[in-house]
């Protein structure tokens, strides 16, 4: 009976729950789904992480390669993110060139990397003007159940913390790069940007961490990316219903608490991996 009502009037079905300040999966309006993270499981990548936010699953693999630095910035390397939403994660995506959602997500991740200065590009330079590292960050969604941006940002951060780069020296006689795979060092991660996404319902209600169905019914979305000092790297609101300044403030405070939760979880996982 409830299933029938849900199919015919999905919005009304949801409103009944929202009136009681909860959601169909039993969560409160400000509650996140269970977050799990698995770091370093892909041995072929230089750094990897798998993040699950409820059902939404994103895996991030980072591969480091050599490249010549750009001519206008000879002492900088590259960080190239790419978000892939393959048909296996949801029936809404078809195979072929990346659709709009994937392109927007890739652009979002590129902006987060750029704005938050998570890695100083100068750290990736090996020899000014001649050789630098390029980090290819591939984010693949394995299961799409809403809130892809939060999962991708977390997976990227965890994977970058896991990346180990070998020591490279330029041999002066042959001018070739010599890689010492025995001596590896971690990247220096300057800030820890964490994303918190909200969905706007009926122009007034804000709910945190929307599932796929909730995103579909929402009249607007908002994503806030904050670092540990409370500075904002990104306030991404692509249209949708309007928000007042007061509502934005509530979102900010929720983003601050979320940042603490995520940082704690990630530090726990990384510490548990330490004794090798």
């Amino acid at each position: 009976m409830a299933a029938g009502f849900k199919t015919v009037e999905p919005m009304e079905y949801y409103r009944r729950f929202l009136k009681e300040n909860c959601r169909p999966d039993g969560r409160e309006l400000g509650e996140f789904r269970t977050t799990t993270v698995n770091i370093g499981s892909i041995s072929t990548a230089d750094g990897s992480a798998l993040v699950k936010l409820g059902n939404t699953t994103v895996v991030c693999g980072v591969k480091a390669e050599f490249a010549a630095p750009p001519s206008d910035a000879p002492d900088k390397g590259y960080v190239v993110p790419n978000v892939d939403l393959p048909p296996l994660c949801s029936s809404r995506f078809r195979s072929g060139p990346p659709g709009e959602e994937a392109q927007v997500a890739s652009q979002f991740i590129a902006d987060v990397i750029e704005n938050s200065q998570i890695i100083q590009k100068e750290d990736l330079c090996i020899s000014s003007g001649k050789l630098a590292w390029v980090l290819y960050c591939d984010l693949i969604c394995l299961d799409y159940d809403g809130n892809i941006l939060d999962a991708c940002t977390f997976a990227l951060l965890a994977a970058l913390k896991n990346v180990q780069l070998p020591e490279v020296t330029i041999n002066e006689d042959t001018a070739l790069a010599e890689v010492n795979l025995k001596k590896k060092s971690y990247l220096s991660i300057r800030t820890h940007p964490v994303a918190t996404s909200f969905a706007v319902f009926d122009d007034t209600l804000l709910i945190v961490d929307p599932t796929g169905e909730e995103e579909h019914l929402a009249t607007g979305t908002l994503t806030i990316v904050m670092d540990e000092e409370g500075r904002l790297c990104c306030l991404h609101k692509p249209g949708g219903s309007g928000l007042t300044g007061a509502k934005l403030q509530d979102c900010m405070s929720r983003a601050v608490t979320r940042h603490k939760e995520v940082k704690k979880l990630m530090d726990e996982v990384i510490n548990s991996m330490k004794p090798k």
Partner: protein, 195 residues
């Protein structure tokens, strides 16, 4: 180790939402492609992604205000052609889109306007920055505000800033939006009083 191989090509194209200041009346765009031994080229991919991202922002803002339910099975196409870019491009695109929708007579629940704020390194706020100011700024924030209650419809930001600075920029943008809406009203009055 070989250096990068450069391949340049001049492509003639029209339309699109990005222009390069290559000279008046010229729609030639310069494409450059660097090919290394190992890596795949990244320039053109990131160029298209930025366009798609801007398109989505403008489209979602329009969708929030247009009363689509009054015209089912209708497709509304908004084509934006950049004539010249002297800073605050996205805000200008939003203003143009709103005026075009009004001109077309599309029923809307509110008007919207775009405002850009730039924050420089010592925290000074500059509204409607030029290209030079945007490049030197620590953070650039673009907002779309509606005309009824000055609510925030769309926001996209670049750079790092604090929560307090965000509220400051939002307040300044809301004050500035009044001027933009007054301009809309005046230009529409002028247009309809002539005919």
């Amino acid at each position: 180790m070989e250096g990068p191989v450069r391949a340049d090509a001049k492509v003639c194209s029209e339309g699109g939402t990005e222009s390069s200041p290559r000279g008046p009346g010229c729609s030639l765009r310069h494409f450059a492609c660097e090919q290394n031994l190992l890596s795949r080229p990244d320039g053109s991919a990131s160029f298209l992604q930025a366009e798609k991202s801007r398109e989505r922002l403008i489209r979602n803002t329009c969708e929030a205000v247009v009363l689509g339910a009054l015209h089912p099975r209708t497709s509304i196409t908004v084509v934006l052609q950049v004539v010249s870019d002297a800073g605050s491009l996205l805000a200008c695109c939003l203003n143009a889109a709103c005026m075009a929708l009004v001109d077309a007579g599309v029923p809307m629940r509110a008007l919207f306007c775009g405002v850009t704020c730039a924050l420089d390194s010592d925290g000074t706020l500059v509204l409607d920055p030029t290209v030079k100011q945007e490049k030197e700024a620590r953070a650039v924030l673009t907002f779309a505000l509606d005309s009824v209650e000055r609510k925030l419809l769309m926001s996209t930001t670049k750079g790092l800033y604090s929560d307090a600075e965000l509220q400051q920029c939002l307040a300044a943008a809301q004050a500035a939006s009044q001027h933009v809406f007054r301009f809309y009203r005046e230009s529409l009055q002028r247009r309809y009083s002539k005919s």
